[in-house]
């Protein structure tokens, strides 16, 4: 899952797609995930980092991860 190269993100969770003009607000964890995706970290690396730092069940993380990725895809923020 790769974020499109031109997507602008900020630490506060604001996301801007310069091709479509769409903007989005993410919560803290969403913003963290996107910033790590911007740093070209793999899905596994990011998920591992979340499991290390948060008290979250692995299966719940997988479910939420898939849901978040599908939202990013639906909003045209991911490379095909």
């Amino acid at each position: 899952m790769k974020l499109k190269k031109n997507i602008a993100t900020s630490e506060s969770g604001f996301v801007f797609n310069p091709s479509s003009g769409d903007s989005f607000s993410l919560n803290t964890i969403g913003a963290e995930i996107l910033l790590q995706m911007k740093e070209s970290k793999s899905s596994e690396e990011i998920k591992k980092d979340i499991l290390n730092r948060y008290d979250v069940d692995k299966s719940l993380l997988e479910k939420d991860w898939d849901d978040f990725m599908s939202q990013l895809r639906d909003n045209n923020l991911l490379e095909f």
């Binding site: 031109n6 602008a8 801007f16 310069p18 091709s19 479509s20 003009g21």
Partner: protein, 351 residues
């Protein structure tokens, strides 16, 4: 160090109706005034006494009323020469679709009097007219929705056999109504006919994201500037009340393709509907700057100033970059004036 005196120029501009569905004049003026290359005097050219720009004395030095387009090109020429004798106009920028034909017709005569313009030719103006747009698109390999040109409301019945609802019913010069039933289409036909005359254009409805491109061609096929914008807030008349500049090379390519194919001279706006499968349909081509043109200045491509330079005969290099994510937000402002001012422009045609 002595400051080098700037060249003094006088630019006359129409479209001072900075109302809810605004003319581009005030935005064009702001762009020109932002350019530090000259010492500019702005002359307003108005049609009606309550065009807000007439009263904006901080940016418009003086305004003169000019005859309505229906009075013809000779009446316009005579009035402009009268104003020129007072003000020594260097450049005129007309900003309404309906007046362009007259201005183009007299542009050579104006040039002889020392007044520059930078306008498309009559042939270019007519080729991109709503009435000819579909064929124009086919000729130049541009995506344009299918349409029918009709002169009678009864023809709508045969149109709906061709297109599925909804359909877009468009006036000759301005306004468009999306109709979902035959009754709505008939109502729109009569309303638009009464306001703008015939024919009426009925266009296939295209679903997607509205994107506009403001661009400037040098008349030789070169693109001086092209800036795409997505509307972020749309009024009930379909006008952008806020918008943002986009980064999308395919949109720039589209504007460049249009300019190289037509050798367009002057400013224009492409109204695009981008479908979910990323096809850019050209819905309309406006043969002048749009009302949001000041965003191009804000984003780093001052199209109004570039047009003035070309109208003055100066060489202008194409812009290559602009700021993406630059936003304009329009606002309304109550300007207070006195009855004496309104009286002057109404009675004497000058203020």
């Amino acid at each position: 160090m002595n400051e080098v005196a700037k060249r003094k120029i006088c630019v006359a501009v129409t479209g001072l109706n900075a109302i809810d569905s605004p003319g581009p004049g005030i935005a064009v003026i702001r762009g020109i005034l932002d350019c530090t290359a000259w010492d500019v005097k702005i002359i307003g050219l108005s049609y009606e006494s309550l065009e807000p720009g007439i009263y904006m004395h901080d940016i418009v030095t003086k305004t003169y009323q000019i005859p309505y387009p229906s009075a013809g090109s000779e009446a316009l020429y005579n009035r402009l020469i009268q104003i020129h004798e007072q003000e020594q106009i260097d450049v005129i920028i007309p900003n309404f679709d309906a007046e362009l034909q007259n201005f183009i017709k007299i542009s050579k005569d104006l040039k002889k009097e020392g007044i520059g313009t930078f306008l498309p030719s009559l042939a270019q103006l007519e080729a991109r007219d709503k009435v000819n747009l579909y064929n124009f698109g086919k000729q130049h390999n541009l995506l344009v929705p299918a349409d029918r040109i009709i002169y009678k409301a009864e023809d709508l019945k045969s149109v709906i056999e061709q297109f599925d609802f909804p359909i877009v019913v468009k006036g000759k010069y301005y306004e468009a109504v999306v109709a979902y039933t035959l009754e709505q289409a008939q109502k729109a036909f009569h309303k638009l006919q009464a306001k703008w005359g015939l024919p009426i254009i009925v266009q296939q409805f295209i679903n997607g994201t509205e994107i506009n491109i403001a661009a400037l061609g040098d008349g030789k096929g070169n693109t001086i500037s092209a800036v795409p914008m997505r509307k972020l807030y749309i009024t009930d008349k379909g006008k952008a009340w806020a918008g943002i500049t986009l980064e999308d090379q395919s949109l720039i390519d589209l504007a460049q393709h249009f300019i190289s194919a037509t050798k367009w001279s002057g400013g224009f706006e492409l109204e695009i509907m981008r479908t979910t499968d990323n096809k850019p349909y050209i819905m309309e081509i406006n043969p002048r700057f749009p009302a949001w043109i000041y965003l191009t200045t804000g984003a780093g491509q001052n199209q109004p100033a570039a047009l003035v330079k070309m109208a003055l005969g100066e060489e202008v290099k194409p812009y290559t970059t602009y700021e993406v994510g630059k936003i304009f937000i329009r606002y309304s402002w109550d300007l207070i004036t006195n009855i004496e001012e309104f009286q002057k422009i109404s009675a004497f045609g000058e203020l």
